[in-house]
Symmetry: C2
Subunit: 609 residues, 2 copies
Amino acid sequence: MPQVEQAKRFQIRFEPVGRRARCTRPISIMDAARQAGVGMLSFCGGVGTCGRCRVRILQGQASPLSETETKVLSPEDIARGYRLACRAVIRSDAVVDIPCSSQPQEQRLKLEAEERPVQVVAPVRKQCIDLPPATSQDTRSNWTRLEDALFAQYGIRLEAPDPELLQHVGPALMAGDWNVTVTLRGDELVHIEPGDTSQRLHGIAVDLGSTKIAVYLVDLATGHVIEARGIANPQVSYGEDVMSRINHAMLHADGTRQLQSAAVQAINSTVVSLCAAHALQCQDVLEYTLVGNTAMHHLLLGLPTRQLALAPYVASVVRALDIKARQVGLAAAPGAYVHLPPAVAGFVGSDHVAMVLASWIQAPRTCLRVDIGTNTEISLAHAGRIRAVSCASGPAFEGAHIDCGMKAAPGAIEHVWIEPGSGEIRLVTVDGAPPIGLCGSGILDCVAAMRQAGMLSARGAIQPGHPRIHKTASGTHELVLVSSDNAPKVTVSQYDIERIQLAKGAIRSGIDVLLDAEGITHQQLDRIILAGAFGTYIDPVSAIQIGMLPGIALDCIDQVGNAAGAGARQMLVNTRLRQEAIDLSHRIQYLELTIYPGYSRFFAHALRL
Amino acid sequence: MPQVEQAKRFQIRFEPVGRRARCTRPISIMDAARQAGVGMLSFCGGVGTCGRCRVRILQGQASPLSETETKVLSPEDIARGYRLACRAVIRSDAVVDIPCSSQPQEQRLKLEAEERPVQVVAPVRKQCIDLPPATSQDTRSNWTRLEDALFAQYGIRLEAPDPELLQHVGPALMAGDWNVTVTLRGDELVHIEPGDTSQRLHGIAVDLGSTKIAVYLVDLATGHVIEARGIANPQVSYGEDVMSRINHAMLHADGTRQLQSAAVQAINSTVVSLCAAHALQCQDVLEYTLVGNTAMHHLLLGLPTRQLALAPYVASVVRALDIKARQVGLAAAPGAYVHLPPAVAGFVGSDHVAMVLASWIQAPRTCLRVDIGTNTEISLAHAGRIRAVSCASGPAFEGAHIDCGMKAAPGAIEHVWIEPGSGEIRLVTVDGAPPIGLCGSGILDCVAAMRQAGMLSARGAIQPGHPRIHKTASGTHELVLVSSDNAPKVTVSQYDIERIQLAKGAIRSGIDVLLDAEGITHQQLDRIILAGAFGTYIDPVSAIQIGMLPGIALDCIDQVGNAAGAGARQMLVNTRLRQEAIDLSHRIQYLELTIYPGYSRFFAHALRL
């Protein structure tokens, strides 16, 4: 008789965190980790190519070693029992160790930004109102009663009701004994509460980055930020960068929804805790604004992202949208809206528009705005025009694809210099912790210092001579930054240098194309604005030294912090700025680098150090 | 050591249908029946008072007999093992028999109606369109591309997109190779399909009655009904009448949602099967109209109904609403709308407005419209005015609260007369089946015939004398209609007569108040329009004989069938009629009977036979 496999319950314990996944069917270790809410690095989105999800099975059995794993894992790793979490499948009780190198790290987030002063033109207003009670002589419906009273007392003609909100009208009238506070957005009712709550007027601005999410609780009456919080984007467990997340969304039937819900849950839990900290409830959130790159924006809306990943990289939608917060699952008042400012193109998202808006200066100036990330958006304002490009700078500046790379977490080397006389190497780490790796600004400094100290040729070849330059087994050279018996060795390899050259070359060629398109030189730039966490923490001298930025006077370079978040906050409190952003988005002309005449020449030139 | 009760799996089998409920925790038999999808009568909404849910436990154990059951069940029933399904709780395997008397019966539904000819002014239109493909030179977003093409080719300026619909634009453009058909409602995109589908233009009209649901699949190009289906409203398992359903919604945290989902699932499964029968898919449904009484309307929208059940019976909303079908869970094209025509007041719903609209005759006539149900809505049009009342006629005409009452299912006595000479009693049953009970038209005929034959006094007392009039154990009299050894005895008791008097008195007093308010007599009525299933099947002669209707010439009485459904269909295909219905709803003036001067006098007078 054929034996039917019974659904067997088993559990996988994850060390060192100690959390458990309870499973009933064979499951990859990565899926089990997600299920248990245990962070797990993955750059490739779980297709077995990046090798970041190395884990060790301490107890129990997994599926036999796959061909992919034999390719990606070193023989030593295999001998020590390492597996790829995305490939190894478990079907009975097991204990799995996640080494530090496979755990996502807490990182420093930049929340503050220089801001232009913003006038308040709030998107919503509150009105406290007394209604005549219903009687047998006056059996008007709750809605009609409210409509009539708002018109009689304030001349307001309510728009057709949001059906969701109708649920709340009756109970609010009962609980408030016919005295209620309504929240209006234009003439639409978005919230109704018993009694007088007109003193509470709050909104949330969100900068939804692919790595970090910044959430701002804002007083809509004054425009002031009450509190800001930064959190890591939990979508990272589905893929470190945008492309691997899109990959995840394309490969899994439920992928888009998983990514959507990961982002929404992270925002919601932050909103819940921000509200609780200020004696508010989620229902007190009356409006959201949210900016992000086009992929983040599309995933938030549950839109397909396939077209974003394939040439010619077309977005589903770039125009500004006002949608109900509940429609994307964001915690808010029942009828509250999320305003999503416009994007420009597939790779120039609403975060860049918000950044341009926040750093906008009325006088026409020749200004370059650079937001460095896996994709770096750059725009050049000149003579009343704005042109923008998007450069595939890759994740090197975020510490990925660099041998000893890491995020800007404690222990990350964030600044490096080499004493000109002694050739001694000096390091600064995040929080002064013992050095364990290099973050973006550190690797940038390091390359600049190596070039200054003659350790690098203009083409990027590591030059032997310095005592810290070692020859590797494969015959190339590497710089050993940290080497001691009781700490991890931190090195910069020839491969790392190439990665940085590719990244900075992508950015610089974008800048050069923009200058070329305008027919100007970098001497004509009045200002360079660097936004985002990386742009804030880098040393602009290093950036100029390695040729990532053109050489302009340092006092013409502004490091403005999270300008996209600032733009989101400004648009939250001032609806006129939303129209300004729409106008801006129409003025920004997108240049597709890959089809710009002679682009490869620009790029080749930009690779030089 | 204390023993923890383990979640034990067990099953309850229901006979005679043979379906099983699989349970893990103690459950009332009624809840288990619902879970198994087995129909079960309940008039009281499961509070143990109506005694309609009698079942017999054939195998297994239930909770001990409750006090409620000892009151409601007869000692014979208790001796034979009968229990109330809403009271008896099962916690291990059991077999339960549902006797016929506790099973909801299939009943005759009236779907057709006399209709005024309707012009087509369709709510949606389709446009087939070719778009220029995206290239590296033209990276406009899908939405902008569509917007631009619709404006360039047809001068249409698309409204801001429904975010839900954005999901479908990219895939449709890909699948159709840049050739798509858009469905527009005004200038809003509600559907997008690859290729040319402009020949398919369909909608659904629904009359959501508390007992029956009529669903019409309509061709929006021609206005013709393709097919109509009638189904029983499955909400009946939560309470036979509207009040017990409201009761259920108030008593259970999840009650409103349960009722909402029962109605929506019933409509959806009918729509699925209607579409399948005509080679369509649910996505081909581009618009809905739906009418119903205010409670049905509110439950469909998930609105609170508490206020509908308590004086002064205030609705949450009466105005017309256009909401997304998906928002209430109705199967349709992604952006399709449901149009909900306006109601007038808590007890004069959109079904009555639709009925007035469908039977509207341009020339001003003095016309009484009566839609008989548990609540009977009556409106009187006279001299350009329309006044409406709602009468609590109760469920007697639907066969409930009548000893041998039943719905108009096979075996129901639907017509009765007594031969004037012989005094012989003649019966007509639905489908000619052996008589098992009395439906509404039958009991009405019976009372009229008894009154004609001198078996009833004007006050309603049963007079002895006829051989079929028997004295009961309690000293009152009853008419024995059917009595044989191998069939159920069918009788009409003094109690039944009183129920009918109360029901017809409620209706007649409503009519008399309307006539009084207008200062006219019934002789001035040009026409009486009787709508709904009951109004269609009753003998108007009987209705006049017992004084339910005023005595006007029979050829001035129209029995128009499901006029509410006809109105819903007309509004589906002609959007101008939606505005007409809104105008009508504003013109209809609601009269609250209970506060009409001298109402009790009108009522007392109307009780007489």
